[in-house]
Symmetry: D2
Subunit: 280 residues, 4 copies
């Protein structure tokens, strides 16, 4: 979650910056030389509309600004898609660690009543594809003829409302999804246990290295036990405790410590503080 | 025009083919095995709806079919954009060989009353960008999870109506534009004459080669006169007639023949017949 | 697999067709009128090169043909991505139904020796993104100026070799992956059993409807037991056998039949025959 | 030129910012908790490599950063394309106001020796399409599975070198093109004169409004003369001087002033100073 928080901060900052790039105006005439209207009029009108006058213009505002804006939306949408993909993974029957909000009265899949499909997340995934498409049209709008044809007009009338509405909808839907997200902590622990301890293979690897083995030697031992566990159906941690090459170097207490989930948390507290603290 | 006609035939053929690809149906259950409903029901329903049953399905129809359809629209739109680009070029003040329909009562550019902007063609140019964007979203829809998630649904609800309506509008607008296109044949001839005959530089090149020069020798003579014309402001054809290296090889009648526009037409008649004849 | 087979047939057919569209030639001069070279030369040269002369040309072959070719590659790559996504899902630790070929000597993840990452499938996923990008550049190549500028040249020098090589690599990699795919049938059965029979919820639903309930009544019964199973951790099939609303309508034998996996196979044999038979 | 200068400043600023976004590192372990390596190691290594440690990470750096970088290249390339499009327009035979550097010994078009094609600008146009394609692939890289699959790897190995090299090449080519650009000031004046004064139609419009007409009345007078000039082939300025509705309101001196090109320059000096001054 800390990582998502920080990623959305970047998305927000990009949109804020891009918004400034398009919150500009011009009233400097057909070739931008104020030949008929003095700059004071432009200043006055822009100030009234909350816009900054551009420093130089042709008949129109240059479209790299608007493309940057659309791109900032596509980047935000793609990050939300990533979060949605994560939820879709965690909700699948075989994983079951989270699920989208689902009220008892709500129907599930029409064909399969037992299924709770991650419909909100799948919807978010699709909408991101849509906004990436709009962003492409905006990039193609940049090379106007004589920096002022009006071919961008038909494009922008569609993509500006459609992309901003779609992203707004995505943000609301994602917020609601997160607020109602059902987290199944028990299943998380069960899934970890199902791995028979292979989750800790790297910790074991490093403990063996600390105990004097080369990385290659340690890797061979760990991988042999990991694959052995998969082939035999026995737990990795059990095989490790029986492996003389391991027990020659790590005593029981050291092995217990390897398989202690608390170790994986590392310095997670400070990391979260840093992520939520903002700034870079 | 013959080239456009033939290019649109290709576009039409692609759309027709892609339409067949999506005019399909399935009623074979959640994993496509007809476990609850026999194929006869599928046959019956599809026949009533004018659809062909797919040979094999998961819970959904595979999305490569729908992407092919969207791509066929994007290819058609891009060809129309090419035609629009041509009209925009030919309508510019310095060329002036064609112009879009423009009724006397119609206003021109708001700032510049004398200008007849190619607004229809610029509009068509922009709409093609839009449809290319939609086509991209459709391509991203193909890799569904387990070949049946519903992430494509939100995308298709937008891009199918928006892209088909946009292309339909483009086709109507383009048809109207072509029906009312103003062709200025006099200006075409004037523009050719303004070139002082450089349009015929290749014909001269080949005539000199026929007269015994190597291609390199002929190229040097032609380019020298062409650049000389540009530098001096004199007509290329006049310089050529005065060039002793030319007149040593081509008599006056031969030079007249070089600068005769009719020669450029070549076998244009049979080409047009072939283009309009269809088939390949 | 039958579905993949049939989808690749479509991809192959599209590429074959698009290949014909670009296997064309022209030698009709700068404006396509054969003003200097008769059509017989074009016929002769094209025949020698295995090309078909186009019916009409400007100075160049029109680029909608080349875009169609690139699009056919992008469609094929996107289908392969779909297959790769399926393998990535089935290989994840919690599912474990298939895994990519992995020789005992091969190293796994550098940090986590026990992990067999689906690196081939992830690689295929990325390459499809690449080819979709190339296809976009090809679409933008269509609206050449005066149907003959050379802006497409720099693009095609890159995208044609890069996209064809990438797709060729994908096809080889995917073929090798499928040839060596490790299928864990036992795990498939285990995963089905883990569902406690919810896989058969639709079959139960239909059996209850056949026994006289409305679809809504049946749906309510099935969903209640499905959610009850998820909440209680007990097997869906056990709850169903204890539910008086079910047992009032279905005897033990009928319930056994509902939970028989063979029923799901339906008419899978004929479907596969039809899919592999080709034609549509 | 001032407008291009300022637009490239924006492009440069975006690339600079995006470069910071990707000049980051992480050494915080497979789930970013520093469970095996303390943050000091990350600090030390990143400092040595000129990188900033990210505030929070999964196994990898999040790909929205890299997509932002690719997008910044695509925005820059699209602006260069716009400049190239302008040069292509100004170089066409009928306009002839600028031309690309062309040494006397250099060959022109192979078929048409007199033609100086804008080959550098057409090349730049194509390369921008290429980079927009790469940018799309980068956007699709964002939604990694569990925020750390490696599907982005195959993509980035291609698009990072290819896009950065292509943009570097574009910048060098564009710089050389601008340094050697041939400007034909005489032709610019000739083209303006060819318009017969319609370039000043807006100035006339405003002068008539200042003289007491409504905008609609003035517009009608100006458009009538503008279209009359196009139909008759006579100069707009001559028709205007003969129009009693004009002469009733503007004396000869006022009309001279309307058709004085110096008026169009307006406040161009301060605008250029402002554009080159930087900052916003």
């Amino acid at each position: 979650m800390a990582l998502w928080y920080e990623e959305l901060e970047r998305a927000q900052e990009r949109i804020r910056r891009a918004r400034q790039q398009v919150a500009v105006g011009k009233l400097s005439g057909a070739v931008g030389t104020y030949s008929n209207v003095p700059p004071e009029v432009e200043d006055h009108v822009c100030a009234r509309m909350g816009l900054t006058p551009v420093r130089v213009a042709s008949q129109v505002i240059q479209r790299d600004r608007h493309a940057e804006y659309m791109v900032s939306l596509a980047l935000a949408a793609s990050s939300i898609e990533k979060f949605a993909v994560e939820i879709r993974h965690l909700q699948r029957t075989e994983v079951g660690e989270v699920s989208e909000p689902f009220s008892r009265g709500q129907k599930g899949s029409s064909a399969m009543p037992h299924k709770k499909n991650p419909i909100l997340s799948e919807n978010l995934t699709g909408l991101a594809r849509l906004i990436r498409g709009y962003c492409l049209s905006a990039l193609e709008n940049i090379p106007l003829w004589h920096e002022r044809d009006i071919s961008h007009s038909s494009v922008e009338r569609v993509i500006f409302p459609d992309a901003t509405i779609a992203l707004d909808f995505m943000l609301h839907r994602f917020t609601g999804l997160m607020e109602g997200l059902v987290v199944n902590a028990g299943r998380m622990r069960t899934n970890m246990d199902l791995s028979g301890g292979t989750t800790f293979s790297q910790t074991l690897l490093l403990a063996l290295v600390d105990a004097g083995l080369t990385r290659e030697e340690a890797y061979t031992i760990v991988q042999r036990n990991a694959l052995g566990a998969q082939d035999s159906g026995r737990a990795f941690c059990d095989l490790v405790r029986e492996d003389p090459e391991v027990t020659a170097r790590l005593d029981e207490r050291a092995i217990d410590s390897v398989f202690d989930p608390a170790g994986l948390l590392g310095r997670v507290g400070p990391v979260i503080d840093r992520a939520l603290g903002g700034g870079e």
